[in-house]
């Protein structure tokens, strides 16, 4: 087995270093010759892939952090405890990468801290800046427990335990605020954003879809890390998550259809247009299909069915964010395709995310001790210690 595994590891670390190398090279260009040198951004298309994917998707896909912590610490659903640390880790890394992505995208990244002292409470961006700053701090504190435990700092571990509940509550509030506010960003462009996506309910849609994406990411990731780290899947937990995902996907589907109907633009979804085609991709493949897969009991119970449904949910979520931030604005602004440089930086961020997760999973007590592979009945006993 070891003989087979080694070259695989070599392949992925080669991919990792190539992506990081290209990303760093692009970064050097960007910081010495300006944004125009590596991006297809322009006066008529000021926000591109870095905002659409690195920020909007990055934040949304990290939503598993606040949902799972809420489930375990606030709802006291103890059986989810084995996945709370991986979820916190993913969220923390996700937000760190969002910040790195922002440093690339902002024209004057050295001023990134300005919103903390230069206020404009009427700006959605100002609110997001505060929420993301505070929530990244919350995640760092939630994450710190694993580091303290590894270092054997008992006092620090105890202090961290004592503040967990306030931290989790703060995290849920901050996440609800900025996950929805990322949608509220687009309330300001009624004349520019295509009516399939422009709605005053954007904040609610962004929050609901982030919850879906967060849950789906936890499922996808537990399968990937199970394969990469040779661990067993927490199958009963993943099944329950799958049921929850099905529920939220259903709510999201109904909410979005009602929104289209209420605004009288349902017909636009069937027009033979560029926008309608991409809307269908997002809605049918990203919401309806995973919902239907989860509806089938046999699929809902199998790890593979759960994985496939979650993968579609994640891809559909990404399609939604790119549609709102790019597709829906192309008709009023201009056609936009990201430049190679933009793709390279984004690919580097994704690679960094995978690499950092792997390192953390290797050196920190992210997962409960291995005996956890025993059947579900024994898991409860393990956790009582």
């Amino acid at each position: 087995m070891n003989g087979i595994k080694k070259p695989r590891f070599g392949f992925w670390s080669a991919v990792f270093w190539i992506l990081v190398g290209f990303g760093v090279a692009t970064g050097i260009m960007r910081f010495t010759r300006g944004l125009g040198s590596v991006t297809n951004l322009s006066d008529t298309f000021p926000w591109g892939l870095w905002i659409g994917f690195d920020i909007l998707c990055g934040v949304g896909l990290a939503a598993g952090g606040f949902t799972i912590t809420a489930v375990v610490y606030l709802f006291h659903l103890e059986r989810f405890r084995p996945i709370v640390r991986p979820a916190i880790l993913t969220a923390f890394l996700g937000y760190l990468l969002v910040v790195v992505g922002l440093l690339f995208d902002l024209g004057r990244p050295w001023n990134i801290w300005h919103p903390l002292i230069m206020w404009n409470p009427h700006s959605v961006m100002f609110e997001i800046a505060w929420c993301v700053t505070l929530y990244t701090t919350v995640l760092a504190l939630e994450f710190s427990g694993m580091v303290f435990e590894k270092l054997g700092w008992t006092r620090a571990v105890n202090i961290q335990h004592a503040v967990t509940i306030p931290l989790v509550i703060l995290g849920v509030i901050l996440s609800t605020l900025h996950q929805s506010s990322l949608g509220a960003l687009y309330l300001i462009v009624p004349g520019k954003l295509h009516p399939l996506w422009y709605t005053e309910r954007l904040p609610v849609i962004f929050w609901l879809s982030a919850v879906c994406a967060g849950l789906a990411m936890v499922i996808v990731e537990s399968r990937l890390s199970a394969r990469a780290l040779g661990r067993h899947l927490e199958v009963p937990i993943i099944r329950t998550l799958g049921r929850a995902l099905m529920g939220v996907l259903g709510v999201l589907a109904v909410f979005r259809l009602r929104d289209l109907a209420a605004r009288g633009v349902m017909g636009l979804a069937f027009h033979p247009s560029y926008e309608a085609a991409l809307f269908q991709v997002e809605f049918l493949l990203g919401i309806v299909l995973p919902f239907v897969i989860l509806l089938v009991p046999r699929m809902r119970r199998s790890p593979k069915g759960l994985y496939v449904a979650s993968l579609f949910t994640v891809l559909g979520f990404i399609a939604n964010r790119l549609n709102v931030s790019i597709t829906g604005l192309e008709a009023s602004q201009r056609h936009y395709i990201p430049a190679v440089g933009e793709v390279l930086v984004t690919a580097m961020l994704v690679a960094l995310g995978f690499g950092a997760f792997k390192l953390a999973a290797k050196y920190l007590p992210v997962y409960p001790p291995l005996p956890n592979v025993a059947p579900p009945g024994t898991v409860t006993q393990l956790r009582s210690k």
Binding site: D43, F75, R108, N120, V124, I173, L177, I188, E200, Q333
Partner: protein, 260 residues
Amino acid sequence: MSTQPKSMLIDITRCVGCGACTEACLQAHNLSTNVDDIKELSAGALTYVSEHGDLYVRKLCMHCLEPTCTSVCPVAALKKTPEGPVVYEASRCIGCRYCMQACPFDVPRYEWDKVVPGVAKCDFCATRQAQGLMPACAEACPEAATVFGTREELLAEAHRRLEADPDSYYPHVFGEHEVGGTSMLFLSPVSFDQLAFPLPLPSEALGKRTWASLSHVPDVVTIGGAMLLAIWWITRRRAEVARVEGPGASNGDHTGGGHA
């Protein structure tokens, strides 16, 4: 000098497309762009004259009364001054470009090729105004197609022209009500959508739409926080009760009557 907010009235029926305003603007802002190369607004051209058949339409910042850009800027780098101009303070700017994304008139431009880039747009010659001078473009216009004055007197003048010569004008003052009103007021011989003005525009300031969402923040924090605390307390209490009543109780075993 009155401190009343200033405006400009741009009468498309009078404009002959000479481009004197564009040149005066370049000079006043020390820009070295060649006038003949200007096809759009850019960091090097804060105003220009676009051709629509035999009509000429000036493009420049509208200096809205309740500007979208000032409402979206997270660091208040863009400000509406009481005198009328919407001005940009580069040292505050973080470069998020939300102003460009949000502006209903697509006015703010960016210095894409600079290492320390900033937003560029017409500043209504705020520094010249502070010295008691009129904006360079209005001063340069040989046909008085662009005139400078207080918003009140220019609005009155616009309506006077519409009434005096209804055959020459499309009966609308663009900027009187659009997105809450703008400092730049336009008169045209034809409807404004024929001249690529962004229409339709609501008469309410766009910032109200994001404020509708932001105003929920205190509710989410207080009501949301209280609800989460309540959930935490109730579920913890339930777990405690279950523990005290013994392991059988929480599994629902007692329904069979086997309660210890």
